[in-house]
Symmetry: C2
């Protein structure tokens, strides 16, 4: 089964244009590099019904993983686990392991002088209320643990929205799981910067090179309007090992480059190691 | 009817972590400032079925507007209008007005020396193939026109993914339409930076201030882990005029500030004009 992942980013701050969604970008890059596919990303508001509906819809699309980001904290507006529990038709209940993680974190805050004393308030206990059957994932940076719960063929993972916390939990607890699920796949990409041709002149050629190299995905990105037309071409592939992946991209790029030069374009590699 | 808008961002480059979705962020900010609400943002791959399904789903959620971004260009991978046409159950056909816009643009490119001569290739004609009944929107910056089509109560707008083109079409052709739809609503927001309290200490207070100020939306954003805990509080509201909106935020912020100071926190305004 290919590693397909759907991202659900929860947070009204994303939808009012306050916060740029760098989390989705970071996760997509990580998953792609592992040889996996992010099939869709959804941004929704801090609303239980919206969260529950989005998770339910994603479950029906038969992804191997669903990763939610945001809404795990102590405030009234952190509603992700309620929504996930509803989507999975499970109750929320205090998880002893999660509670222990949270208590230990606050005790360390007292030691460091960040807070005066620890009291298990409702707001703090809330972060330990997980869907039944879920496991907490250690948060090495902040307070709210990540959460992992399996439902039939899909694993639903919830991560906090603070980028440093999201990244730390992902790299520590999720990366090994995804690596195992992806198997020995390798991703390779190359970009070239082309000047002197417009995209519409190149369209049939891209089509032809993709047809000759069905494993390689080629995309043209015309750059902001300038006097001299400029296009970035991005070639990428996933293969059983890195040498094969590199060879596939290399061959397609060579064919594309010939056509670009024929049309009078100039090519400059940007991020390729070919 | 409130101005509710759903964004559908089309582009595999978003889902492989190549491109950060600054377009969605920019549009969300613009819509919010007008007093409208972005209810959801979806990022999908360059796939006709995915595009058609996403537009169909968004139509069922009864938004006043759906804005798609990306996939309007001349290449094989620019599939948005095919997907939109399928979702609306309409045929694609060359639109004379769109074709004229595109021809004029390429003629100007010849004059500027960007291309040697103009020929109406299939790739170029493709950009003029719109869903039946749609209107093209002038692209002052690039080649592909934007597209507007009404279906029952919803207006579906398609914009190109190159940021400068997207922004130019939005400000020139969409902004006046949305302003009219939003009516005389005003948005106001303020942010304060608070040090010396942790989020879990503030959770019940936020709840209480939101209860006392039901029109104001308050959200706490704990900042990356530091020795001294730091939280950004963001307060926002929409009201019938800017003075009322400002007063609502001001009152809520004053109540919140009292509580923060009671708890030993320090407050510094960040982007407020209060």
């Amino acid at each position: 089964m290919p590693l397909s992942i759907e991202l659900i980013c929860v947070g009204t701050e994303l939808l009012v244009g306050k916060t740029l969604n760098t989390n989705a970008h970071w996760l997509a890059k990580r998953v792609t590099t592992l040889g996996g596919t992010v099939t869709r990303t959804t941004e929704i508001r801090d609303d239980i019904d919206e969260i529950a509906l989005s998770v339910k819809d994603a479950l029906q699309r038969e992804n191997s993983f669903i990763i939610t980001v945001g809404g795990l904290g102590p405030t009234f507006d952190d509603k992700t686990l309620k929504g996930v529990a509803e989507a999975l038709n499970r109750k929320l209940a205090v998880n002893d392991e999660a509670l222990k993680m949270i208590e230990e974190k606050y005790h360390s805050y007292v030691k460091e002088g960040r807070i005066k004393r620890f009291e298990l308030t409702a707001a703090r206990a809330k972060m330990a209320a997980l869907p039944l059957g879920a496991a907490p994932l250690c948060n090495p940076v902040g307070t709210a643990p990540g959460v992992l719960v399996k439902q039939e063929g899909t694993t639903v993972i919830s991560l906090p929205g603070v980028p440093s916390e999201m990244k730390a939990i992902f790299d520590e607890s999720i990366l090994p799981i995804l690596k195992k699920a992806a198997g020995d796949l390798a991703y390779f990409e190359a970009s070239v910067d082309v000047t002197g041709v417009v995209e519409s002149e190149m369209a049939p050629a891209i089509d032809q090179v993709m047809h000759n190299n069905p494993r390689v995905y080629i995309k043209s990105h015309p750059q902001e309007a300038e006097r001299v037309p400029r296009i970035e071409f991005h070639l990428s592939t996933t293969a059983k090992d890195s040498m094969t992946a590199r060879n596939h991209v290399s061959k397609a790029l060579s064919q594309l480059s010939d056509i670009i030069r024929d049309k009078g374009g100039t090519i400059k590699p940007t991020n390729t190691e070919l």
